[in-house]
């Protein structure tokens, strides 16, 4: 039976048991503590400065929809002085992304924020539908993930923003910690738990929902009746992440603090220098100017493989050898437009970030 009143205001009927604290709280107190905790996360990490132009990576899904709503609310409530934009990537997945983009377009109206949509087709000349028809459903998530990351930076550059925020939540980060451990990618643990990352040649990226539980994000969207899109991608899901996710949800069911505890574990790892050195130093892609740990960035390698009909060139060593054996890239090869930051690398930032930036994730 529910207790008579909310643990915070002692007045209203509770509607939610907080996974973080076990507290039973009412709807108004829930909205207030959820928003205030995100505000505290933002201000403790000093993520923004007045006048910053900030793009919200918006997929139309629950996390980014709630993020857009909360960023707008906090910007007004606490006078952050931010110019907010919605930035969406159209991967070109019929029956999935086209529908979710309709949600983002409604969000644009509902939150009165300018929206920029950048498509894989425009940037790479390939939709995901075309990529899947070329390579099948195996490895297509690799293409999509690499292309999306770069597309977000490029979309942000055309908006001339200082900062990209994404809807990654505590559950997502805990999953990534688990995956990195299971893959032996210990060198990435520190970076994957950072609230804000910035390499020399990329736009600052941060995760205001780093400490927000997925359960609370979904409950927030439910009680605020926010308009979001929730359909699984029609192409094969990321199976490995799926296992980490199921495992994490089982842990959470037994002990809800597991999620925050795993994030703290990731943060607390001290990685020996020899291990850190397994991360390659960053350079600039010789073909497209995007940050890369090799001469060619991953997106250029994947695109060259697609264009030359050796799609596994960017996936396996065997594919790479096949590409090398077939000679140098022809001059007529389709290339990704050269990447330039709007105002050059930003000024030094007052956060736990500036360090050599390893690649994705």
């Amino acid at each position: 039976m529910p207790p008579k009143s909310c643990a915070l205001c002692n007045v209203s009927r509770p509607i939610l048991k907080r996974p973080k604290t076990g507290q039973q709280i009412c709807k108004d107190c829930f909205f207030y503590v959820f928003e205030t905790e995100v505000h505290n996360t933002i201000s403790e990490a000093q993520l923004f400065r007045p006048g910053d132009r900030v793009a919200i990576g918006a997929s139309g899904g629950k996390d980014s929809t709630v993020l857009a709503y909360v960023m707008k609310t906090l910007n007004e409530r606490y006078n952050y002085g931010l110019d907010l934009y919605l930035l969406s990537i159209d991967e070109g997945i019929t029956g999935y992304r086209d529908d979710s983009l309709e949600t983002v377009k409604r969000n644009q109206q509902q939150y009165s924020m300018p929206l920029k949509i950048l498509s894989y087709e425009e940037l790479y000349g390939w939709t995901m539908d075309a990529i899947v028809s070329e390579i099948g459903k195996k490895n297509n998530c690799t293409f999509c993930g690499v292309f999306r990351r770069q597309a977000l930076d490029r979309g942000a550059a055309t908006l001339a923003v200082d900062h990209i925020v994404t809807g990654h939540n505590a559950d997502d980060i805990a999953e990534t910690v688990l995956m990195n451990i299971m893959r032996g990618d210990i060198a990435r643990l520190g970076r994957c738990t950072l609230i804000c990352t910035q390499g020399e040649d990329t736009i600052k990226r941060s995760k205001p929902f780093k400490y927000a539980y997925e359960k609370e994000i979904v409950m927030y969207a439910y009680f605020k009746k926010l308009d979001y899109f929730s359909t699984e991608c029609i192409y094969s899901p990321d199976a490995y992440r799926g296992h980490a996710r199921v495992f994490l949800k089982d842990l959470e069911a037994a002990r809800p603090s597991a999620i925050i505890d795993i994030i703290h574990s990731g943060e607390a790892f001290e990685v020996r220098e020899e291990v850190k050195k397994t991360q390659k130093a960053q350079q600039t892609c010789k073909r497209c100017g995007y940050m890369s740990s090799n001469d060619l960035c991953k997106a250029c390698t994947l695109l060259e493989g697609l264009e030359r009909g050796i799609a596994d060139a960017g996936i396996s060593d065997k594919g790479k050898k096949k590409l090398e054996a077939s000679g140098p890239a022809p001059d007529s090869l389709r290339k990704i437009p050269y990447f330039e930051l709007p105002g050059g690398p930003g000024p030094a930032v007052a956060i736990e970030s500036v360090q050599q930036a390893p690649p994705q994730d």
Binding site: I15, Q24, M219, Y222, S230, T231, D250
Partner: protein, 135 residues
């Protein structure tokens, strides 16, 4: 709860699916289901911690039945309403919802209401929302 127990009486429960779960239920977000006032104490996959579940099988007698609760609703939805049988595991497993599916009873987190043991009343609203889809 009130226990007027004419065996022909039925509970009408309003069920909503969200967060992508509706795809498993004929792509319909709202359903109205009718359930008897009492149900057999166990189904094949009742919570194994339930002490009486292991011994009983079908044909429960009147005093072996239990008032219809949310666990019974979940069993009913899984056995009779779910349309995508191949992916039933995305909704329920081991006699309860799959971890990551949120449940609200009359707009309140079911963790405040006794979860599966909440005894349903006629006209109750129960929502199931998946958190498992991308954001």
């Amino acid at each position: 709860m009130t226990s007027s127990s004419s065996s022909t009486e039925q509970l009408k429960i309003n069920v909503d699916f969200g967060g992508g779960l509706e795809i498993l239920f004929d792509n319909k977000r709202s359903h109205v289901v009718s359930l008897p006032l009492r149900v057999a104490p166990s189904s094949s996959d009742t919570n194994p911690t339930d002490p009486i579940s292991s011994s009983t099988t079908e044909s429960a007698t009147a005093d072996e039945t239990r008032p219809t609760d949310v666990s019974a609703l979940i069993d009913h939805l899984k056995d009779n309403v779910l349309s995508d049988r191949k992916r039933a595991g995305l909704f329920a497993e081991n006699g309860t919802v799959r971890p990551g599916v949120l449940v609200l009873i009359n707009d309140s987190d079911w963790e405040l209401e006794g979860e599966g043991s909440y005894v349903l009343k006629d006209g109750d609203n129960v929502s199931f929302i998946s958190t498992l889809h991308g954001g």
